[in-house]
Every structure is written in C-alpha cells, then in structure tokens.
C-alpha cells in the first residue's frame, strides 16, 4: 500500500479549507481541494488503495464531513493514526471509511517501509512487523458495513415500513 505520512493535529482546515465549505459539498467538488493546505501533491497523486499514516488527534477542528466524503471517494484504504478527534471519527463511520487507531504501527513506520492492512483480520503490517487493532462495537460496525449511515438508515426505514 502506498503511504501518505502526516504529523500530529492534522485539522479539518488542513484537510479541506473552510473557505470552500459552502461552495463544495459533493465528493467530486471536494476531491481537488483535499489536503490543499497540508500537502498540495495529495489530491493529484492519491490513488485507490492508498493509506494515510498520521499522528495524534487526526481530524480535529470543525464538524466538516467534506474531507471524509473526499477520502472515501478516492478509495483510500484507511487512515491509521495515533488518535482521532471524535466528530471526524463519527463522520468516517457514517461514510464507511476505515479509521484505525494504532499508535504502535504509526510509531514503527519509517519512510520506505511496506505497509499492509487487513481490515477483516484487524491487523496492520509495517515493515514486516504485525500489529493488531480492535474491531468497532457490533452496533457501530453495522453502520459502517452497510456502507455508511444513510444506507443503514434507509434500509432500516424501508424494513419498518414494510412490516
């Protein structure tokens, strides 16, 4: 997996500048501005299957789901970080984007190391060493596995209506 590595406290303004929040809402509108103020090469270079490795408190700041929409839409495998801010964490579940809290894996990574992530097994391999990460609680996993909160909610509404 190709790795994009970032520091601690990557906030929502770095992930998607606030000046676009009321002009860009859809994933297609968001994509060209992803990580614009953090790493201008990201939006041009990112490919499906890539992974972000980051430090503490990834996604802190605003309730801004556009970066999550955009990262899910480019097909990012996961964001692996030391820790995440809570609204970003919820937003990722709601869009079906995998976030992995694994400080050991982040600390172990050195530029050039190979990284392999197995979401089902809950493991991440960094430079040959394997680290485990816990699964989400079942009630939350159900949301992510449905492809996000809206598909989950609509399926639930449709079931309750057909009863």
């Amino acid at each position: 997996m190709r790795v994009w590595q970032y520091q601690d406290n990557v906030n929502t303004d770095m992930l998607f500048p606030g000046k676009y929040t009321y002009t860009c809402s859809t994933a297609e509108e968001v994509k060209p501005h992803l990580l614009e103020d953090l790493d201008p090469s990201f939006s041009k270079g990112v490919q499906a299957g890539d992974i972000i490795l980051a430090g503490r408190n990834f996604g802190c700041g605003s309730s801004r789901e556009q970066p999550v929409l955009g990262l899910a839409a480019v097909g990012l495998s996961a964001v692996v970080a030391h820790s995440f801010a809570r609204i970003f964490y919820r937003a990722a579940i709601n869009q079906g984007l995998l976030l992995v809290e694994c400080p050991e894996a982040v600390a172990a990574y050195k530029a050039g190391d190979s990284v392999e992530l197995d979401a089902l097994k809950g493991t991440i391999k960094v430079g040959g060493r394997e680290y485990r990460f816990p699964s989400l609680p079942p009630e939350i996993l159900a949301i992510r596995d449905a492809g996000g909160l809206l598909p989950f909610t609509l399926a639930e509404l449709s079931r309750s209506r057909s009863k």
Binding site: N11, D13, K19, G61, S63, R86, N94, T153
Partner: protein
C-alpha cells in the same frame, strides 16, 4: 457508586435507569441544530423526506449564520433552499440571517434546556454545557439521518473533573482560563471525554464566562464541557423564559468516578495567547509584547457577548485604533447587537475606529468579511487559529481574550491588557 453528569444525562435520554462510561446508547436528542449547511443536509435526503416525512417539527433548530448576508449566488441559493424547507415544514425554530450566531441563538431562545441532549452539525455545539445541557457536535450525514429517524447513538464518555477556586485578577478572564487549560492538557487532552467544571469559583463566573469556556471544549477534544445549574444559571435561564419548573437539571454525584482531576486557581491565571497554528500552543502575553498586529477580531460565538464588548469599550472609548491595525467587531446575536447599541458601546467602538460586522460567523471560518492577506497577523477572540482558517494559508491567527485584543487594537501590537486597563 456515584454517576457523572454524562452518565446520568445519557441514561435518562436512553430511557435507562443507569449507564456507565464506555456503553453505547441510542438516544433521541431534544433538538438538532444545523445552520447554512442545512441545504447540503436536506440535499442528501430529498426523496426520503418526501417519502418518510420529517420525524418532528420540534427537532430542527436552523440558524443561518455562517456566511451572512450571502456573499455570492451559490450561498444565496443555499440560503433560499433552507428558507423554503423551513416554510414548507412550518418549522417553529427557524432563524433567518441577522438573528445571530447559531450557538448564541440556541441558548438565548431557551432551546438548550438543562438535562437534555442537543446535537448539532457544528463542532461548537458543546457551548450549551454553559447551561447544563449535553450539547455535542455531529456531521451533516448524521444530521440528515436524524431528520428521518430522530435518533442516534452516543458512547457514554469518561469524564474529567476540573475544580476552580479563587478569583481572577483584573484584566484576566474566562478566555485566559480556558486557553490555559487547553495549553496544559493539549488539543486532544479531553478527546472523547466530558469535562465537568466544579468548585467554589463557579459562583463568580457569569453565564457569559461559562459560555466562553464551554464553547472551547471541543478545542481540547471534549464531547461536552459542562457547568452545574446553580443560582447564576437559574437566573439566566429564567431571563430567557425557562423557569425552574420547565426543565430537570442534572449534575454529577459527589462520589462519581473520573478519568482525571485538575485543579485551577483563578488568581494564578494570567493573560495568554494561543499562537499559530494550534489552540494548545499557549504562551503568556508577556512573552510576546511588541508583536505587530494587522487585524483584530473581537466577537464570534466565543467572545461576542455584551460583557466582551463592554471590556473592549472600556479600553477603547475616547481613543483611536492604531493606524497600523484594523478592528472588526462581531456581536454574537441581534439582541446583543441591540443591547450594545442601546448601551452606547457600538457608538464608542465605532468612534474609536472599529468596523462592526453583522451578527454571524464573519471571517472566523475564512469565507468572507475580513479575509487575511499573506504574511498578516490577526489577533482574535475566536476559537481556532488553524493554518488557513481565515482564508489565507500564509497568514497567522493568534487567539486571546477581549481585553488583550482591545489593548492590541489600541497599540497596534501585543501589550499587557492589565497595563492597558489601568490607563
């Protein structure tokens, strides 16, 4: 075994007798706050709203505040879509442009009831902890789902107990206190946690002080930052139409279990700054005296209340903003704007050279009204100093109290507000 505020509120909202930190509960919030982003939210569920209907007219609170008045056709179209939605569904809690910043409006209109849950598609929804309400931020997609179902999940957070004692020295206030706390525990120091404020100093903290502190809870990662409903809170709540009988306040038991305890003595707090580009990059004002400032921003949902404008007018009345700098003033709501106008504060600030903006989010999120140029420095009473936040990624934002900002506006550079207030 005692329970924390969060354990009690969430258990009640979930219809359970008790809950413990770590549990996941499904709850029905009393209200869902959304703002200009309502147009994007309803855009996700247009057909579903027609098919299943809006779950309740009481649930939505919508306040247009982020980019007001509209700065371009796209924003204007978004606002129109929100107005049409509010009218179609005859929503009782819709507030159009000019009423104020959403968080101020929610509290002023008595919609943040003690002991209830209010979620909002805005991170500063944690402000409602000022009046004992469990306010917390969510995203747009979750807001869309709530319009259809009225329910969502919340993990019962662990809690941090902060005990406050003593009293502030002159020229020091609530903003210095919360920035000092964030500097101490870091921008993720309260991640996923509820922060409760206790202690004898509470009696001397006004609702406005508490609002400033609770507002910045999210800047240390907190899910909620909350104060007890004491005499100060009850008096304020009755002034916004909520008398004792209209809510059931909740507070932690004295033997509740906390993940961490912190003690702060107010007289030990000094004027501080949050330097670029993280809110926990906190340093005493006295370490940065003489730093030149291009723009001063006084106001926002953090510090745009009457007492904040009074402090600034106290420093600036009869004087002039330094020619090197410009001062933008952003009252947090129409009622504050009006009260400040009637009290003569706006006259005094404008005469001193201030530019008064409409009661909205203004330049805080970098969409309009006071965007910075490359290399400029803005000293602001707002809550975030992230790189690029005010529309330019090579400008710098420094956070401070209203007293520090007003003093800097006068001097054109950072000075000690304690000295400026003596003059």
């Amino acid at each position: 075994m005692g329970r924390t505020f969060a354990e009690k509120v969430l258990a009640r909202a979930a219809g359970k007798t008790e809950a413990r930190a770590g549990e996941i509960l499904f709850v029905r919030p009393a209200h869902l706050l959304t703002h200009d982003n309502t147009s994007a939210i309803i855009g996700k569920i247009g057909q579903e709203l027609d098919r299943y209907g809006l779950v309740s007219k009481e649930l939505p609170v919508i306040v247009l505040d982020h980019v007001i008045p509209a700065n371009n056709e796209k924003t204007a179209t978004g606002h129109k879509k929100v107005r049409d939605f509010a009218r179609k569904h005859e929503l009782p809690h819709f507030f159009d442009v000019g009423e104020g910043i959403c968080h101020q409006v929610v509290v002023e209109r008595g919609l943040a009831r003690p002991g209830t849950i209010v979620v909002g598609s805005d991170s500063h929804t944690c402000s409602y902890g000022a009046v004992g309400c469990f306010g917390t931020g969510i995203d747009r997609t979750e807001a869309a789902a709530l319009y259809l179902t009225g329910k969502t999940w919340l993990k019962v957070p662990e809690s941090i107990r902060v005990d406050l004692s003593g009293s502030f020295t002159p020229g020091v206030g609530a903003k210095d206190l919360i920035l000092t706390l964030i500097g101490k525990i870091s921008a993720e120091g309260a991640n996923y946690q509820s922060v409760e404020f206790h202690g004898p100093a509470l009696a001397s903290l006004s609702i406005e002080d508490r609002f400033t502190i609770a507002n910045m809870g999210v800047e240390m990662g907190a899910k909620v930052a909350v104060f007890p409903v004491d005499d100060v809170a009850r008096k304020y709540l009755s002034s916004v139409g909520l008398n004792d009988g209209s809510y059931e306040a909740v507070w932690a038991d004295s033997d509740a279990t906390y993940a961490r305890r912190i003690e702060m003595r107010l007289e030990e707090v000094e004027p501080v700054l949050a330097l670029p580009h993280t809110v926990d990059n906190v340093a005493p004002v006295t370490k940065h005296l003489g730093m030149k400032i291009d723009q001063c921003l006084l106001g926002t949902c953090t510090n745009g209340r009457l007492s904040d404008l009074e402090v600034a007018a106290g420093v600036l009345t009869g004087k002039r903003v330094h020619p090197r700098t410009r001062l933008l003033v952003l009252p947090a709501s129409r009622s504050i704007y009006l009260a400040a106008s009637r009290a003569g504060l706006l006259d005094q600030l404008v005469a001193a050279g201030a530019l008064v903006l409409p009661p909205g989010c203004g330049p805080c999120l970098g969409a309009h009204q006071g965007i910075l140029a490359p290399g400029e420095k803005c000293l602001a009473t707002s809550n975030r100093n992230f790189k690029g936040r005010m529309g330019c990624n090579t400008a710098e934002i420094i956070l401070a109290s209203p007293a520090t900002v007003a003093a800097a506006a006068l001097a054109g550079e950072i000075v000690d507000p304690r000295e400026a207030m003596k003059r």
